[in-house]
Subunit: 163 residues, 2 copies
Amino acid sequence: MNVSALEEYGLRCAVTLAALKPDEMLSAPEIAEREGLSVEYVSKFMLHLKKAGLVTTVRGVNGGFALAKPAAEISLKEVFEALGGKRRVSDEDFCNAFAGKSDNCVHQSGCSIRPFWKILSLYIEAFTSEMTLQDMLNPERDTIVKTEKIALKNIQTMKEQLS
Amino acid sequence: MNVSALEEYGLRCAVTLAALKPDEMLSAPEIAEREGLSVEYVSKFMLHLKKAGLVTTVRGVNGGFALAKPAAEISLKEVFEALGGKRRVSDEDFCNAFAGKSDNCVHQSGCSIRPFWKILSLYIEAFTSEMTLQDMLNPERDTIVKTEKIALKNIQTMKEQLS
DNA sequence: CTAAATCAATACTTTTTTGTATGGATTTAA
DNA sequence: TTAAATCCATACAAAAAAGTATTGATTTAG
């Protein structure tokens, strides 16, 4: 399980915006400076976030980027989806991304691997859809408490699917 | 969060071996046939698994691959580690794989993203170290039951490690 | 009106991952 | 002893991801 550069850097920049005061903006050069990235690279994934409707932009002098919604209303899942990627565990069509030589995965029925990824992705989905950009600004122990709640709820969900 | 081709295909082939009767072997062409992959490609990651000590090999006519240990004693974590990858969430040095322009990540202290990945990777670690190749052969409901136990235990671990 | 600061879009280069090809070494069987 | 079947190792090619460069459009300040 790998984290892509876009996921990591894109999330970082989103969190940076989440820390702004209302009506403040940050320009690409400012974000790049804070995160130790190139301006061009920052512009690249900010564009993804913009197209997904997660950030608003203002061009020209004094322009920049800001979150389009309150940080507490933007889940990490939304951020990751905005940033793309081809073989994400959470994708519905995940299996056929690994079809080998044929058009579709050879394990059309009775696949033993699929349930494994399914369970793992279910957890990741649950976790990333409940964690918000706001959570990333809160103290770590709050995150742990929240994580515990998510995990318990997730166990419940799994049980229901089982019966 | 992406799954690499080596992880996916390598795991599949390992599971295929796990399903063999004792003293049976499968050759690379046989595995390739079953999984719909090229013989060369299969050989490639079987070599990784061999070097990690997870499979034994016999050369020559009637040779092939078999698991080096009982399937119940090989965790998915071991399999994934054998197959490599560069930006795995579970890696200790994960952060510095995303250092941007500098040698080390700019967020040396007070990073808000790190705890997030840490928690997620803790779960993945717990899950993949307890799930074995044998589990992949068992019915899905068994897996779910096992998953629940792992999750509960993991919540406990998180509480201890992170507070 | 003009210049500077900014986002927007896309093309390009480099690096990594994915997947194939090739030549060799080992074993078995005839 | 030779041929076929197999693993072993590495080199190569193609595709994707990561990261840079360039050109253009928009806004604001002076």
